[in-house]
Symmetry: C2
Subunit: 308 residues, 2 copies
């Protein structure tokens, strides 16, 4: 007799992945196993949720109907799926492993072409695969209010829907594999540009002696208004850069978008200037500040004292 919800396992249980696992556990999904390259993370979460923390990826894919991956970058995706590597090493997909009818949902922000490579590998072994990029952050993962941009075969999307609806308040299907990563890269590219631009506007406002609370109000009522003004404006003013979306992530995502632009032969000077700013933050050792920390580069008198 089938369980009412599919069994689920996780690969990558940093703060995002762990909160998604907690959320599914709470919504009566059976979380069978969690895995992380940093083992203590997996062991702590396994103890919390009462599940396994196997030391082999193969054991993760064997343990559940649906495997969610939330890894950091293209290289990690290739490694866990054994793409371009040895087929005999430990991976979710192995030469002899059976992934018939299993569903893989990949939530990391990685290059669009990685999703196509993973799709080819999984579908070739009889499995289902969906990309589900997230345009939200850690609190939304815990609350099941993620914004999920999904792409892949429609049958994979349909099968994934119960899990997706438990994780997200908005679940959008954007077409074929790779599209969600493209849209996510564009969302973050534009978001990062707006963030860097807002930091310049507020920084110059501070230099001119203006009341920044008044300035933010005027921005909100005029053509300078933006979502990042709502989410990051006050934090920039108050130097409250606890991390929701790190500067290092912003630099990485801007890099994905710029690589896509380069292949398309497009010149995007704003995106390039924004990446250079986030790269400066990372180089100065502020990569783990929130993206709002870019204000530390533009406000008068902050400069290298950033981090407060």
């Amino acid at each position: 007799m089938p369980t009412p919800n599919p069994t689920v396992a996780f690969v990558g249980v940093g703060r995002m992945g762990a909160n998604m696992a907690r959320r599914l556990h709470e919504k009566a999904f059976h979380v069978t196993a969690v895995f992380d390259a940093h083992r203590p993370l997996a062991e702590a979460l396994a103890a919390e949720l009462g599940c396994a923390a196997p030391d082999k990826l193969r054991a993760v894919s064997e343990s559940a109907d649906t495997i969610l991956t939330v890894v950091t970058d293209d290289a990690a995706m290739r490694r866990i799926y054994s793409i371009g590597g040895s087929p005999d090493g430990d991976a979710l997909l192995t030469a002899e492993g059976d992934v018939q009818n299993k569903l893989f949902i990949n939530c990391a922000t990685v290059s669009p072409r990685i999703h196509l490579e993973v799709e080819a590998a999984v579908v070739g072994r009889g499995g289902f695969v969906l990309e589900a990029c997230m345009a939200s952050s850690i609190p939304q993962a815990r609350d099941g209010t993620l914004y999920l941009m999904c792409a892949g075969e429609e049958r994979a999307f349909q099968r994934a829907e119960p899990v997706l609806r438990a994780l997200g308040s908005t679940v959008r299907y954007l077409g074929r594999s790779g599209n969600a990563a493209k849209v996510k890269a564009l969302v973050n590219m534009v978001m990062n540009i707006n963030t860097a631009g807002l930091a310049e506007g507020l920084g110059l406002g501070a230099a001119l002696g203006l009341d920044l609370t008044m300035l933010r109000e005027v921005f909100a009522e005029t053509g300078a208004g933006s979502r990042v003004l709502q989410t990051d404006g006050e934090d920039m003013q108050n130097r409250a850069h606890d991390c929701y979306f790190s500067a290092a992530h912003a630099a990485k995502d801007s890099g994905i978008a710029l690589a896509l632009a380069e292949r398309a032969g497009l010149n995007l000077p704003l995106a390039a200037a924004t990446k250079a700013q986030y790269d400066r933050m990372v180089a100065a050792g502020f990569g783990e500040l929130d993206k709002s920390g870019i204000a530390e580069l533009t406000f008068p008198g902050r400069g290298r004292s950033a981090g407060g």
Copy 2:
């Protein structure tokens, strides 16, 4: 017996100034005179409103209690107020002219220090002066729904209020002279950055074969959302660049902000990259397109064919 509304006169009756004059006329203000460096504009509007079109600025200030100026740049402001020039030439303020108790409302987007220079000159002759920068465009001028950012002496603001309330749906008092120009420069700087960034996001989306209507919807629901997405996104997609706020104006306003940043010793790479894009538009002959026309620089296959 005083009239219920002050008499008003205008200097600078391009599309903004002319619409503001029409609006005040409609709201039962007596428009006494209109002036423009391009005389046919003034003559046509004078015929429409049944007022004078004197060929001397002195006659404009003599004709009304309140004089509104809507000129193009710092040089024009200096010229009409005879600042730094010959005191004997024709100007609103002249050596022998009496501006006792007259109110001057300056609506052009000019450098903050110009407002301080004008204030010193007007107040020194017994008059009142207010800056009233507009963060809106031509249709709002006609409808009396401008967003007005005002600065100057509080008594000048109070005296100006009946006129301001007839012109604007939002009237904000931002403190001492020059503050409104500073805030306006910052609003436009951030707006222009967001516009240039949006053009890059949609342009790259087009290059990647994404459905731009879908992409704009996702932007609106995520961290990429902004006011310019609402006002300019669809126009960028459809190449609808009829002018509300010209690229040439965007270049000028970005220049004002960058000059302020330079004096403050701030490095603002996003603002600089944005100005360079608008300067490219102007150099390519697209300066009179709307600011949304910046998409012509970033969408694949548009390039020099812009203007459609």
